[in-house]
């Protein structure tokens, strides 16, 4: 019933962080005091991701259920993979707007009735579309699971997309586009995809559509998209939580399992997005008077099916930009004080991926920070020290039990894998492979993807800093309005 914001010490990270210099003080150096000796650490036992029970419902939905005792809120996740290229070009964003309308009126219930049913049962329902496809999620107290699954079926199978709700969600998206334009990280992301990907590729444009495409979108486009692209074939459903005393397969079969679609056309395979031929350049989004510059530096990266395996990349993202003492923040935050924190992450897509580094720096440190950041990114090609490697591997592998302790975290991981055609056995195998990595393998993996070419986006005061960035000689600099 309440929500609190607070001043945290560290910015949030996609993947949690790692460390750098070993700075232990040996026991012999302790001054004479009553401090007890530094305790030894006992290594944790090897951990495996939980194994789900698997069922195929009569309509083809693959059901994965994870019984996690003590997790009294059940997390249900459904995913249906499709590439965004299935959207008609002139109404891009139709998938996203369709997803936002799934609970805004069904064959049985008006929008307000449906919302009331969800609220009274304590159900949180959400839907979204990514480059991998459609995801519809709900969280619900255990005793309400059956009712919740039936409401989920109605949302997926029987949405009616009432005209007034369509209009409202179109307007809301148009307002959201303006909000995103005003937020530096979102503005940077939009400039990045527009610069990095070929302009003919869907990946170069926002997932949820542009002002032009949303303005062109009609109710019929949404109805047609749902009929053609949303159905049980190819869908994975995950149910995670304390399932004791529940017959989950039966509950799912009697709800989600009854959904049939005569019109659904399973989607073609996703293909890798095309990079623009002039992707290696600098775009400076001009925000006059900005007190910080938002930096976003990226290039093509691997996906989870990368040759040589995926295990190296979470560790690499980490050693470079995953904590206050990773290479980037050790210099730009802890030594220079230019930033609250800059993060690097290898972000896999269904096919292909990105290696992204982002964060904001004090405005008058813009030019120097860009140069230092590119130097730090290049430094990984020269190798990683043994203690960096050990710390990175240990951090990611040893945090896994805690990161995947709750129903929602387990369910989220399971559907992330499902969207990629994988299971959480991949999560376990990645952690196993990670423990075997050495510095040479990590350096080789880094060199596979980092070769000195970058798409660089800066959102800041161009009139003051664009010339300095030009003088760095890191590529053509184009200034665009905010």
């Amino acid at each position: 019933m309440s929500s609190v914001t607070e001043g945290a010490d560290l910015p949030a990270t996609d993947h949690p962080p790692t460390d750098l210099p070993p700075t232990e003080v040996s026991v012999a150096e302790l001054p004479a005091d009553d401090t007890p000796p530094r305790p030894e650490v006992r290594p944790p036992e090897v951990w495996r991701f939980a194994t789900p029970a698997r069922h195929t419902l009569s309509n083809g939905i693959e059901l994965l259920s994870y019984d996690i005792p003590g997790q009294y809120v059940i997390s249900v996740r459904t995913v249906l993979p499709f590439p965004l290229s299935v959207e008609p070009r002139e109404v891009e964003g139709v998938a996203s707007i369709m997803s936002r309308l799934l609970d805004e009126g069904t064959a049985e219930h008006s929008p307000e009735e449906f919302a009331e049913l969800l609220e009274r049962k304590g159900i949180a329902l959400g839907a979204s579309v990514t480059d991998g496809g459609l995801g519809v999620d709900l969280d619900v107290p255990k005793r309400r699971l059956g009712e919740a699954l039936d409401l989920l079926r109605q949302a997926l199978a029987e949405p009616v997309f009432p005209g007034p709700e369509v209009d409202r969600h179109r307007k809301t998206r148009l307002a959201q586009i303006e909000q995103e334009r005003a937020l530096a990280p979102q503005r940077a992301a939009q400039a990045f995809i527009a610069t990095h990907f070929d302009e003919t590729d869907r990946a170069s444009r926002p997932t949820a559509g542009t002002t032009a495409s949303i303005t062109a979108l009609t109710r019929q486009d949404i109805v047609d998209f749902h009929a053609e692209r949303v159905g049980p074939t190819g869908m994975t459903a995950v149910i995670a939580g304390d399932l004791s005393g529940l017959d989950v397969a039966d509950l799912a079969e009697s709800t989600l399992g009854t959904w049939v679609s005569a019109t659904h056309v399973p989607a073609a395979e996703t293909i890798e997005p095309r990079r623009a031929t002039d992707a290696a350049r600098v775009v400076f989004v001009d925000r006059p008077g900005s007190v910080q510059s938002e930096l976003l530096v990226g290039w093509t990266g691997p996906d989870r099916h990368a040759p040589g395996g995926w295990a190296a990349y979470p560790v690499l993202g980490f050693m470079v930009g995953g904590s206050p003492n990773a290479r980037i923040d050790a210099l730009l935050r802890e030594e220079k004080g230019y930033t609250y924190g800059i993060r690097s992450v290898f972000r896999p897509r269904r096919v292909g991926g990105l290696f992204l580094t982002s964060g904001s720096v004090r405005a008058d440190a813009t030019v120097e920070s860009v140069q230092l950041l590119l130097d730090l990114l290049a430094s990984g090609r020269d190798g990683f020290r043994a203690e960096e490697v050990q710390a990175g591997v240990d951090f990611i592998s040893k945090t896994a039990p805690g990161r995947f302790a709750t129903a929602d975290a387990v369910a989220d991981e399971a559907v992330t894998m499902a969207l990629d055609g994988l299971t959480t056995d991949f999560t376990t195998k990645t952690l196993e492979a990670m423990r075997e990595l050495d510095g040479q393998q990590l350096t080789a993996a880094y060199r596979d993807w980092v070769q000195g070419e970058w798409t660089v986006v800066i959102v800041g005061d161009a009139s003051t800093y664009a010339e300095g960035v030009r003088e760095l000689g890191i590529g053509d600099v184009t200034v665009v309005p905010a």
Partner: protein
Amino acid sequence: MPLDYPIHEKTLANGLRVVVSPDASVPTVTVNIWVNVGSRHELAGRTGFAHLFEHLMFQGSRHIASGEHFTRLMAEGGRLNATTWFDRTNYFETVPKGAYELALWMEADRHGHLLDAVTQENLDNQRDVVKEEKRQRYDNVPYGTALIDVYAAVFPSGHPYHHPTIGSMEDLDAASLEDVHAFFRRYYGPNNSVLTLVGDLTADEGFAAAERYFGHLPASAEPARPPVAPLEPVSEPVRVDRPGNVPNDRMHIAFRLPVDNTDEFFAAGLAIDALGGLSTSRLVQRLVRREQVANAVQAHAMGFVDGVSLGFFVIDVADGQDPEAVEAAVVEELERFAVEGPTEVEMESAMAQSERSWLSALAGQEERADLISQHVLLHGDGQFVNTFLDRIAEVGVEDVRAAAARWLRPDGRVVVRHLAVADEEEVA
């Protein structure tokens, strides 16, 4: 559903309150420490200091090098951080079971012996980092300073909640090493803190480890001051306008609320949910769905301990709509609610959503430990995690109506408006 998370409590001879809540479902232990100091304790001219100080807690102590908290514990598989808020500062890590004693040893070192390692260089560096945090989270974000305006208008000058936790640039500049020493001596010590351990350990193991690593520290903190006097609702409407370069008009409509952990606060919180916190709440139904004069409505209740709390609605005004008319509609709904009270369906919905969000909050060891520390430190109630749902279930329709009639009166509103200014006007 009655909750029964095990709660074992003990106070060490030096005053450290220790709570152990065994949970063997995951082979990890969460170490969570709450210190009874936040921005409410800051003095004029030193706003933002409690948070800056928290950053220095990661820059080394008697036996620990600068940055080692992160490097060492992360390398052992720990996830850690700290936050500062009006009422308190917290420090926390979740580590594999075999590393929890190291985590306790490291926490005890900085909570007992920070000053051995604090340097001007570290202070200057973290001052710069905190300034960038302020710019990133507040100054370089549309509407980023809205809550700062809300605090300043809702709470009188000099009140503990009048200024934001992040503080001001000028005050951050003024912070000195002497301030760091004085602050640590006054507020940091086992007798002003709570240590909660949640995870794969027994109560005996947890208490023994707490004694082993914290037991030798002296009860060095000065006694906590009592809460300041309660505040009544604001007496007449206040408006703060911030015209600027924002995508659409946004209004924060804020109210004083009663202190946290009281039946009246819970009732006021349910009223705020029924009015704006649910997808079926009155303001959402009317402004967003039916009249479509707002893009979104959010509602929040922030519980505090110093004589007053804060509640507010955030309304994104739809393009082309008149914010005055939207505000008038809100006033109308507040007046109606104060007379009618919530419907049975609104009560049922607010309770059901409170139940799910509470169970979700308790699902992970980290947040469970944090909620235990909070209620032991600020309210002396170790069982709160188990009893909260029963307590709000006792709140009746008339309690919610009465709380709204007293605390959400339109006359007691503070409205902070960020109004979009057309580019042409800016140029002219």
